[in-house]
């Protein structure tokens, strides 16, 4: 007669035990194969890096515009031109740096704009761009010299005219190092939260090879545009704007109401019509 299994028996009858064993032996390789496939086939992670827990002090010139940033000079190149990198600042977590800077200015009764400063923060970087996180619980302002800077150190500005570009709006902090992925649909909520918290929005424009150009977004008057870009974050858009190059960043002065339009994914990835890519 057939064996009968009852759950509360201390031992399953032999035929049942053997059957279950076979099932488990079959399912184990299935589990492993699924783990390997899912593990191996994820989209490549970006090379971005966030030096979490390793603060750095950088010395340079602080500017309030177009976004809070520090321009760090590292000598002159072989042609005698100043060599520098512009590092936008962001706050801790999903916050911009504006509050921290204005708190420091109020507390010390100074103005940091266009002054030489040393700031302590945590660097994050990817694809040639660097961002620094400053944390209000740290001593952010390590050194401040109130003296006016030489005019050759002011930003080199160049008007690039009106551009119409297809790309994706991301938050500069996650994209350039904190999160992987720091773009696209899975990251959308986070990017929106970061941008609403004051982190500068950046338009990422990629060509077919995956090479990218980056544009800082501000409104037509140069003020923050963060609130207005909320519906357009992490989705394909066309941005129409005046472009001005500030040293090593291009800034788009976007009309808040009409400058950004959502476009369909298929329009974005039209073959042959590579995602618009404006070279510097």
């Amino acid at each position: 007669m057939q064996e009968f299994y009852i759950g509360w028996m201390d031992k399953a009858p032999r035929t049942f035990a053997q059957f279950v064993k076979k099932y488990l032996l079959l399912i184990l390789p299935v589990i492993i194969v699924i783990a390997v496939l899912l593990g191996a086939l994820q989209k490549k992670f970006s090379k971005g890096n966030f030096e979490f827990g390793q603060p750095t002090t950088v010395t340079g010139i602080y500017f309030n515009h177009p976004v809070p940033l520090i321009k760090v000079i590292n000598g002159k190149d072989i042609f005698g031109n100043i060599s520098y990198i512009t590092i936008p600042l962001v706050g801790y977590g999903k916050h911009g740096a504006d509050g921290i800077i204005s708190d420091i200015e109020k507390e010390k009764n100074i103005s940091l704009d266009q002054k030489e400063v040393s700031l302590k923060g945590t660097l994050l970087y990817n694809d040639g761009k660097t961002i620094m996180q400053v944390d209000k619980n740290d001593t952010v302002l390590v050194h401040y010299s109130g003296k006016q800077i030489a005019s050759e150190l002011l930003p080199q500005k160049k008007d690039l005219g009106t551009l119409s570009i297809k790309g994706e709006i991301v938050d500069s902090k996650c994209y350039f190092g904190v999160m992987k992925p720091g773009e696209g649909k899975p990251h959308r909520d986070c990017a929106i939260r970061c941008i609403l918290g004051g982190i500068p929005p950046v338009l990422v424009v990629k060509n077919e090879k995956g090479e990218a150009n980056y544009y800082l977004l501000v409104d037509a008057d140069g003020a923050k545009i963060n609130q207005s870009v909320q519906p357009f974050v992490a989705t394909p858009v066309t941005v129409n704007a005046n472009a001005i190059q500030y040293d090593d960043w291009i800034v788009l002065y976007v009309n808040k109401n009409a400058g950004i339009r959502e476009i369909s994914r298929s329009a974005f990835y039209q073959p042959g019509n590579a995602v618009a890519c404006v070279m510097r």
């Binding site: 007669m1 009968f4 299994y5 009852i6 759950g7 509360w8 028996m9 201390d10 031992k11 399953a12 035929t15 049942f16 035990a17 059957f19 279950v20 099932y23 488990l24 399912i27 184990l28 589990i31 492993i32 699924i34 783990a35 390997v36 496939l37 899912l38 593990g39 191996a40 086939l41 994820q42 989209k43 490549k44 992670f45 970006s46 090379k47 971005g48 801790y92 977590g93 999903k94 916050h95 999160m179 992987k180 992925p181 696209g184 649909k185 899975p186 990251h187 959308r188 909520d189 986070c190 929106i192 939260r193 970061c194 609403l196 918290g197 004051g198 519906p231 989705t235 994914r265």
Partner: protein, 343 residues
């Protein structure tokens, strides 16, 4: 209140299953994390934690949902059915790690409460491609949570089988929510079609298993009985039923299990009071007919669980004429004593 939930103890068998579940989960996590780190040296710990737990939870969910139909197709799967609730609680725990970490990563340290952020960051509720997929995961998680905390039989008795069963059937809408959570989330980002393919294979397997198990049951339910007489229906021959075993018949929408025990035939309602298990696939053990799913027991002559338990099922009249078994599908109130039929 009944004390019958005490019947489910933590025997050796269960401990062994728990260990197997645990080790399989560990194997999955190690392989997923190892392969991700090997292929992508630039991986971040946070992402790999979010993804390894999410995919493990979804894998477990597929295993859980396949056990029901598998056990109906082949009884040898019953030990897995018996231990399914452990898999469920494990799945919830793993999903909770994914969800908590997701909420922290994507919503914490911002300008609003993370749970507000979860619903108010992406407000594109009217669009499909842009839909806030994380909200879907949240509602699925709530369902899994309610199922996990009510998985103990204590709750089955307190909520009543109907409410309990309805709550636990919510696993199907939750499964759908998760599929959409993935399709409208990470699938919008990943470019390799293999992810959709794996998901498709998983879902189709579940659908096919449920269809096979379902059609078998429907066939059995629609069986026609030709001979009727004075309210009795001829169902089978006396020798078609083994000693201490039963056969199930569906007559006039009544599912009836006819048992052979000590040279007599008894008929009781086929549906176990615990979780609707098929009593007709059970066996007489120590003089009680025993449900094959979790071992609830009933006395064959009156359909009552032996004290201290209080479950009762309906009973029916059976008679034997020549070599044939006849059953009257009119149920007696639950727990009514019947003499049974000699043969």
């Amino acid at each position: 209140m009944s004390a019958s939930y005490q019947a489910v103890g933590w025997n050796k068998q269960k401990k062994k299953y728990d260990w197997i579940i645990f080790s399989f989960c560990v194997v999955y996590l190690i392989v997923f994390i190892g392969v991700t780190a090997y292929v992508n040296p630039d991986y971040t710990f946070e992402t790999v934690l979010v993804r390894s737990t999410s995919t493990l939870a979804l894998l477990l969910l597929h295993v859980i949902l396949s056990i029901g139909p598998l056990a109906r197709i082949n009884k040898k799967f019953l030990p897995l059915l018996y231990n399914r609730r452990h898999l469920g609680v494990t799945m919830f725990t793993v999903a909770l790690v994914h969800a908590s970490f997701g909420i922290f990563q994507f919503h914490a340290l911002g300008n609003v409460n993370p749970l507000v952020s979860l619903f108010m960051s992406n407000t594109n509720y009217g669009s499909l491609a842009d839909f806030p997929f994380q909200a879907l995961g949240f509602f699925a998680l709530i369902i899994f949570f309610l199922m996990a905390i009510t998985s103990h039989d204590f709750w089955l008795h307190n909520l009543g089988p109907k409410v309990w069963k309805t709550l636990h059937m919510m696993v199907y809408p939750a499964y759908f929510l998760i599929i959409m959570h993935v399709m409208l989330g990470v699938i919008q980002y990943e470019t390799n079609p293999v992810f959709v393919l794996i998901l498709g294979v998983g879902s189709s397997t579940l659908i096919v298993l449920h269809l096979i198990a379902g059609t078998r049951e429907v066939k059995k339910d629609n069986e026609e009985f030709g001979l009727k007489q004075d309210g009795f229906v001829m169902v089978c021959g006396v020798n078609d039923i083994e000693d201490n075993r039963a056969k199930m018949f569906c007559i006039d929408k009544e599912r009836i299990a006819v048992f052979k025990f000590e040279r007599k035939l008894f008929a009781v309602n086929n549906v176990c009071k615990h979780q609707n298990g098929p009593l007709g696939e059970g066996k007489i053990v120590d003089g009680c007919l025993t449900c094959p799913w979790h071992g609830y027991q009933y006395l064959p002559q009156n359909g009552q669980s032996p004290p201290p338990f209080k479950e009762k099922v309906s009973t029916y009249d059976v008679k034997v004429q020549g070599q044939n078994v006849w059953v009257n599908p009119k149920p007696y109130p639950e727990g009514t004593e019947r003499k049974g039929a000699n043969f």
